[in-house]
């Protein structure tokens, strides 16, 4: 394989694996910035994957090439609806955030597989025909070298995810909405005194995490697994959570960490085709993202990085 071909292969497969992680990690960032810990990201991704695949299977004939993109939208909406469970429990009913998130994770695969069995009479769906294939940017792909690496036969949703990350950064750090969202995550009492509706912003944070996590799950299912079963999403939600922490609750940081994790995940898949990497035992590549998370947490992060009120319920006093 030529060097450029090799670089292009590594980059593209890293982008494929990163995209769901980027979106879901951004979702986690919105949620935690508003003060709600969301370990339910895994379950939200499962619901996104489930609904994306079901939509895709049912509508591939009707929408043709647009099907997987609509599937992403459907996955996002279903993820958002599902996250309402977490939002209601934590914001309105004062549930422990970790327990509520765990409920989301327990519920999603069970509900998904239950519905698949009811609708299709078997434990996993057929493979979809219309998936998120590779895309070449017109004109840009003809740029020598750079075109070959970045714009030819590449993964379009990755560029969408990177765009959303930049928008998320702008929203959180530069807009009124972002400022208020952060204020309820840092000091809800003070925010409340200034007339910010704490509950409303916390609901927004969690629902945004549902939207983005659901999109992430739908992208994963429609590009990597190609069908839905109980084992479609295994740990991607938790890795996204780690990426968010890695990225210090900053959307751009979370994106960078997600790309790194995606790269690490893709290595365990394409590693056999690469020089040097192919000699590393696959198990090391498999556990690398998880191990690195622990190491980075220990070495580089103090306890103080998380939003101050993250994980704490806010009770409005009379």
């Amino acid at each position: 394989m030529s060097t450029i071909g090799l670089i292009s292969l590594i980059l593209t497969s890293a982008l494929v694996y990163s995209t769901p992680l980027i979106l879901t990690a951004l979702g986690g960032t919105f949620s935690e910035r508003s003060g709600v810990v969301n370990v339910g990201l895994e379950g939200i991704m499962v619901m996104g994957a489930f609904s994306g695949i079901v939509f895709n299977l049912e509508n591939a004939g009707r929408f043709g090439g647009w099907t997987p993109w609509l599937g992403i939208a459907v996955g996002g909406l279903v993820g958002m609806l599902f996250s309402l469970l977490h939002a209601t429990a934590t914001v309105s009913f004062r549930a422990d955030h970790i327990i509520s998130g765990t409920v989301v994770n327990l519920m999603a695969p069970a509900l998904g597989v239950f519905l698949i069995k009811v609708w299709y009479g078997k434990g996993q769906t057929d493979n979809i025909d219309s998936n998120l294939g590779y895309f070449s940017f017109p004109a840009l792909e003809n740029i020598p070298v750079i075109g070959d690496i970045f714009f030819k036969n590449t993964f379009l949703p990755a560029y969408l995810a990177i765009g959303i990350a930049i928008i998320a950064w702008y929203v959180i750090s530069k807009t009124r909405f972002g400022l208020r969202l952060r204020s309820v995550g840092e000091h809800p009492q003070a925010a409340d005194t200034l007339g910010v509706n704490v509950y409303l912003f916390r609901y927004s944070g969690v629902l945004l995490s549902g939207l983005l996590g659901g999109m992430g799950g739908a992208i994963f299912a429609q590009s990597i697994s190609g069908n839905f079963s109980a084992g479609t999403i295994v740990g991607q939600g938790y890795i996204s959570l780690a990426a968010m922490i890695f990225g210090k609750w900053n959307p751009l940081g979370a994106m960078g960490a997600a790309i790194f994790f995606g790269f690490a995940q893709s290595l365990s898949i394409i590693g056999a085709q690469l020089p040097v990497i192919s000699s590393i035992p696959p198990v090391l590549l498999q556990i690398a993202p998880y191990l690195l998370t622990i190491i980075v947490l220990v070495l580089f992060l103090g306890r103080s990085s998380a939003p101050q009120a993250s994980g704490k319920n806010y009770v409005k006093s009379k």
Binding site: A89, R94, V103, M107, P109, A110, V283, L297, G311
Partner: protein, 377 residues
């Protein structure tokens, strides 16, 4: 009077959670064209209908009791040990591996060694997040979640690459352990119609008593609970919170490890490739939450969960309802336990008397007391 009311409510909340969970399960079944009455009937029939099914239900409850005990110990110290799956898997792999390496040791030596080794492996896996939490303030939630996956992939690696090939019957499963390492008890199994119920049940029952004793009657248990209630105050009172953190995690992992041991040496008698984290981990967490961490509560909750799970299999064959409905019901039950605040408020409004008004006011002005439990994320 108030005290008695509070006690009744603390029992009513889990009971109501179970009832509501089952009711919503019934609604879901009905919504998809299944008959919930037939569904629940075949569930009860399959889990308690005869000696053998009762035996299987007890067998299923065994690891759940142990992992739930593990969760409850860490939870008393204020930690959320979500790594029970990985710790149990460590126990499973360690105990079966040792049994495969020394198949011919006499039973009286081999079996205890396998059990102890499995418990130690679980303890070690839990000690890592404990130490990191104590010395670096690293969130045990994140570390244990990550450890689950590390252990999962490592266990497959150990089976497929690290073990000698002669230890495997196929690429996906190890040989059976010998009788000398087995927890199966022929008399017990025969009494329950040939079910796989095994001596692990006694380990679990002893575990219930031991944990009750440690937590309620020893200084260690007192210190663990004190750290859970207020780490600063207990530090000021001369207790080492670092020590309590690590010890509580080690104890927690020990019981989770035993949960894996009874699966390996009791139920399955071998080790096979796991495609996802062990469900006994997350189910144990759920059992402990439902049982409110008390020994008797854990016992009852574990029995209920295994009735649901063993019965769920029968429901699938008997009434055609997909098994997964059981896990939906379990998740719902835990959801209702998690929102117990609102349930208590509603309960107090449904059964009003003078004191109930105070209760509502108390609930509404306090922030629930659970806020700090999740740790720093």
């Amino acid at each position: 009077m108030n005290n008695r009311n509070a006690k009744i409510r603390s029992i009513l909340v889990p009971v109501l959670s179970v009832v509501l969970g089952l009711a919503i399960g019934a609604i879901i079944m009905a919504a998809f064209g299944f008959n919930p009455v037939v569904g629940y009937q075949s569930m009860l029939n399959a889990s308690l209908g005869n000696q053998r099914s009762i035996g299987e239900t007890l067998r299923q409850a065994t690891p759940l009791i142990l992992t739930a005990l593990g969760f409850s110990i860490a939870n008393s110290a204020g930690f959320f040990n979500i790594g029970l799956s990985g710790q149990a898997l460590c126990g499973w792999v360690a105990s079966v591996s040792f049994a495969l390496i020394f198949p011919d040791l006499p039973k009286i030596i081999l079996l205890p060694l396998c059990v102890i080794l499995g418990a130690l492996a679980g303890a070690l896996a839990a000690a890592i997040p404990g130490v990191l939490r104590a010395y670096f303030g690293t969130s045990e939630v994140i570390v244990t979640i990550m450890m689950n996956y590390i252990v999962l992939y490592l266990s497959t690696f150990i089976l497929q690459d690290a073990m000698p090939e002669s230890f495997r019957s196929s690429l996906d499963s190890s040989n059976r352990i010998t009788e000398n390492a087995s927890l199966s008890m022929e008399s017990l199994s025969r009494f329950f119609g040939g079910s796989r119920v095994n001596a692990g049940l006694f380990i679990a029952l002893v575990g219930l008593v031991v944990v009750w004793f440690i937590m309620k009657k020893t200084t260690l248990g007192y210190e663990i609970r004190a750290v859970g209630l207020n780490p600063n105050a207990s530090e000021y009172a001369g207790m080492s919170s670092k020590r309590s953190i690590i010890l509580s995690m080690v104890l927690s992992g020990t019981f989770a490890g035993l949960g894996g041991v009874v699966e390996g040496l009791g139920t399955y008698q071998n080790f096979f490739v796991q495609t996802e984290s062990l469900t006994i981990g997350f189910d144990g967490l759920a059992v402990s939450l439902l049982g409110a961490g008390s020994s008797i509560g854990i016992l009852l909750a574990a029995l209920l969960f295994s009735v649901l799970q063993i019965g769920g299999l029968g429901m699938q064959t008997g009434a055609g309802v997909p098994f997964e409905i059981v896990n939906v019901v379990i998740a719902l039950i835990i959801f209702f336990v998690a929102i117990s605040y609102i349930m208590r408020v509603l309960l107090a409004k449904v059964m009003p008397d003078k004191r109930q008004k105070e209760v509502i006011q108390n609930l509404e002005s306090s922030s629930g007391g659970q806020d700090e439990k999740g740790g720093d994320l």
